[in-house]
Symmetry: C2
Subunit: 202 residues, 2 copies
């Protein structure tokens, strides 16, 4: 049996590739061998895009989302409602909310979520800058749009306590049965919460 | 709705990442944002490992497997049986056969498989060098260990015709019911072939 890969260069590439989340050693080998079949300039386009992004990435000084400019296009837009602030965990959160077309306020990207199990505390995410934005005034409502998980709830709870001294409305995304879901397959926690949070028929 | 990613650097990285096989744009974004959370030296370790491999990769001059040396460790080993040659599609084939511990001969890595649908003909893979190795003499048996697919069968057929002029035994991996498989769930083609290829009870 081969005790290792037949090449140190290959082994190093597979080792590094396998550090990506959700990529095991078999997948890493498959991806690396795929790259070997592509032309060198194509592979360098990938590696340079990743290296350049990591080295030159900038974050919006206001909402902390990834941006090529000092202020991101959303924060800089004159047509957004500056009294509404939506708190999200990361860029995917911004993109998911933007895709609904239902929100026209500004964002605040925490860059993570409080998770004592992973050693991530309030100091590791953009909480202070959020408190400063709210303290500066002008914001009427802060909408929490974090994942409906234990960590999301912990983060909601911590931040809402920090924001309580300020005159600002705090809300969170409605939790309930998904549109189009079959009740039979809805988990009991979600169903129980939608029952408790029932709304009048429109 | 955001019409594009908030940063050109990010968009370029996601575009390049999404070219990897089995990686869609959502996965690409997740992987790229994961890399942004890692330290710059760690990301450069990945990109440099990939770039170095692509630029400096070498292939064994005998079996065409990936190797850091002119002759790979298997071809260079004095303990391997030089009369047995196993033909595989790629490095994964070598690793799979080596993992069985049942083969002690040499390999020939085709670097692909004949696939007219994908425009891959005999000239695109290492067929000529295989014919040369066999023509040089000393090889008693060539074992075809390609995938049991239409393309694998086509490749077996083409190469076996090219090798017919030489005095060499041509064999292929046995096809049949997998060890531990339930007959009820074995597909009918495999079951039909194992019936036709039935062997005397030992």
């Amino acid at each position: 049996m081969l005790e290792q890969y037949p090449s140190k260069l290959l082994e190093r590439a597979v080792d590094e590739m396998a550090k990506l989340p959700g990529v095991g050693r078999k997948t890493a080998l498959r991806l690396v061998l795929h790259l070997l079949k592509r032309d060198t300039p194509e592979v360098l386009a990938l590696t340079q895009a990743l290296a350049t992004l990591r080295q030159e990435v900038r974050y919006c000084k206001c909402c902390h989302s990834i941006s090529d400019t000092e202020l991101c296009q959303i924060c800089a837009s004159p047509s957004r409602d500056r009294t509404l602030l939506c708190v999200v965990e990361n860029l995917q959160g911004v993109m998911a909310i933007e895709a609904t077309g239902q929100f026209h306020g500004l964002y605040h990207v925490l860059g993570g979520i409080i998770s004592p199990m992973d050693g991530i505390g309030p100091g590791d995410i953009e909480v202070e800058s959020l408190v400063e934005r709210v303290a500066a005034g002008g914001i009427g409502e802060v909408i929490f749009a974090l994942s409906p998980t234990m960590e999301g709830d912990t983060t909601n709870f911590y931040i809402s306590r920090r924001l309580r001294p300020y005159e600002v409305k705090l809300t969170t995304l409605a939790r309930g049965v998904s549109v189009g879901d079959d009740l039979e397959y809805t988990d009991e926690v979600t169903l129980g919460r939608s029952l408790l949070g029932r709304v009048p028929l429109a």
